[in-house]
Symmetry: C2
Subunit: 354 residues, 2 copies
């Protein structure tokens, strides 16, 4: 009556014995490699079923020299930006017969290197790396032994990896231009991690537009890419809050942390200071005022990356680099009317009845 815990999982040999054939035949039948008698086929299938047989993936991988596993490395799984990418990647990987191994490196370059090593030990068929934090040289060395690599938001010699980049620069330029047209002049950049490639792109966008208008950043403050980062930035900014018009944030988490602090400090958003995020995570539209941000099609990004990776694994290196454009989502942390200047908005608010 008692179901005994399986002391040893059944092997091809067990199935073969049960079906009265050779292990080879079992393998053939189970892998649909044709060439197997109808009757034999039935017996094998039956035996496998009865024994609850499951092929040992190690043995298969060892023999075939492929694991049907791919890895994806993200800086922080708790940052809502990344789970969507993972989900997208998984959506493509599974139907293609691949298992996805997702690894979280908690924003630590050492860990990133270590994880790439572990994935190598596990002989993954390929890896997607999101926002790699390693410096160029170490990154190249770490990915070089891998069979196939796709980098998200990081460029690299095409020889070593396919790339998918978000055109943050263009996105940021669009918002900053708009804010300048609305009369904002004194900008702050809440920069996120210093070593971020995407962070540099965003900065370039801000600075390009500013310098076109003879302006430059009032502050450029690095911070962790999470709520706490936004809180830290707020602390830095509060003493001189009267001297700034707008804060461009590395991501929504920072923007949200910042907003909360500004709200508590009585700093009016967007009337006194405009705030712009990046990513468009769900919380961005839930807060008050809802956050103006750059939307990235996160799940699509994951899907594209995985498709590119599978292509590379299969040896068809069709697409080498893709750039995707973010959408500017105008919500209420930036002034509503592009024609109306900052000063006007302030005056009008002061004159409003309630």
């Amino acid at each position: 009556m008692d179901v005994k815990p399986p002391l040893r999982a059944p092997t091809v040999t067990d199935v073969a014995a049960a079906a009265g054939v050779s292990p080879m035949t079992v393998s053939r039948v189970l892998n649909g490699r044709g060439g197997a008698g109808e009757e034999t086929r039935r017996r094998v299938l039956e035996a496998a079923q009865a024994l609850n047989y499951r092929p040992n993936a190690f043995a298969q991988s060892l023999k075939n020299d492929r694991s049907n596993t791919v890895g994806i490395i993200v800086p922080d799984i708790v940052n809502p930006f990344f789970p969507e990418i993972i989900r997208g990647a998984e959506l493509v990987a599974r139907p293609a017969g691949y298992t996805l191994l997702s690894c979280n490196v908690v924003e630590d370059p050492e860990r990133e290197e270590e994880v790439l090593g572990t994935l190598l030990d596990k002989r993954v068929d390929g890896v997607i790396i999101c926002s790699a934090r390693l410096d160029e040289e170490r990154l190249l060395r770490a990915i070089q032994p891998h069979r196939a690599v796709v980098l998200i938001n990081r460029s690299a010699a095409k020889r070593f990896a396919g790339t998918i980049e978000v055109d943050y620069r263009a996105g940021v330029e669009a918002v900053v231009s708009r804010l300048i047209a609305q009369g904002r002049r004194r900008f702050v950049f809440a920069a996120g991690p210093a070593y971020s490639h995407g962070g540099r792109k965003r900065r370039e966008g801000v600075e390009a537009v500013l310098s076109r208008h003879g302006l430059s950043l009032v502050h450029d403050v690095p911070c962790t890419p999470d709520l706490q980062g936004g809180i830290d930035v707020a602390a830095r900014l509060k003493p001189s809050a009267a001297e700034i018009d707008a804060v461009i944030c590395y991501n929504d988490l920072i923007a949200l942390g910042l907003m909360k602090q500004f709200e508590m400090a009585g700093i009016a958003v967007p009337d006194q200071v405009a705030i712009v995020g990046c990513d468009d995570i769900p919380a961005a539209s839930l807060v008050s005022p809802p956050l103006t941000t750059l939307r990235i099609a996160k799940q699509d990004l994951g899907e594209m990356a995985m498709r590119m990776l599978l292509d590379r694994i299969a040896g068809r290196n069709a697409q080498q680099g893709i750039v995707i454009e973010p959408d500017l989502i105008l919500r209420a942390t930036t002034p509503a009317d592009a024609a109306q200047s900052h000063a006007d908005a302030t005056r009008e608010r002061a004159a409003a009845p309630i």
Copy 2:
């Protein structure tokens, strides 16, 4: 000059040849199994280094019959509740020498079963299942062949799995009692997925308190455990919003979606309707008004689960079942003063100067 892509990864044999010893010696040195000459040791290490040798995890696993990999299955990686659990689990797994394979089943029981099979093929040493959606019989059958299993928020015969459960019932009872003391009488339960074990616990909590007061639920509406679920519930509730005092939500995501819709419909929270969430995800404290919720120590939960799993893998089944208590986090979607009745609050608000 050109770095050639590795056509074949180096093996013990390669290292052995380079060091002028036998493969066995290489294995011994690299695994620190003592018994190896100082000089030999040095040579082997050098050779391994030079060739950039990395042991093939398959071959090791095949031989040792253990993969040093553990799996964790979550219903939806995009739900912010789960990434924190995964991170906690990983924090414990990695130092112990285990790689964590996290799998997302997008709230689909079929996928859950399939994934348990895949993990079996990969011969993981153990699995943690979060909020298993499978029915009892299929769940038991699916976990039975696994070496070690820990279930989060799901009970099971101790024989087959360790369990960690959140005492949702107690948590919910605490809020509901409080709301009743504040004069709320007409409760709605936004129930989440019908097949959720945790959902049943929460419902028991609500109903226990209500019946103690001679009350019963006005509505019990199932929904998906995400923002959309909350939006759907709002649509269901809006026509009769005047007839309800409080909505107890399965999780924060639902509560947040609901709040947003209520806000747009001009339904005052908490004055007209109180809202309670569950989980305490970061967004809960960011919205206005901030959400009253039950806080679960998510990362701790992940850490505990992983520790329990590793214990089970090692054969020390010390702890079989753990129950953790949620903390009631009172924020502003429920009335502030327990002594003040609903009616009072409403009157006072109406009389307020602004």
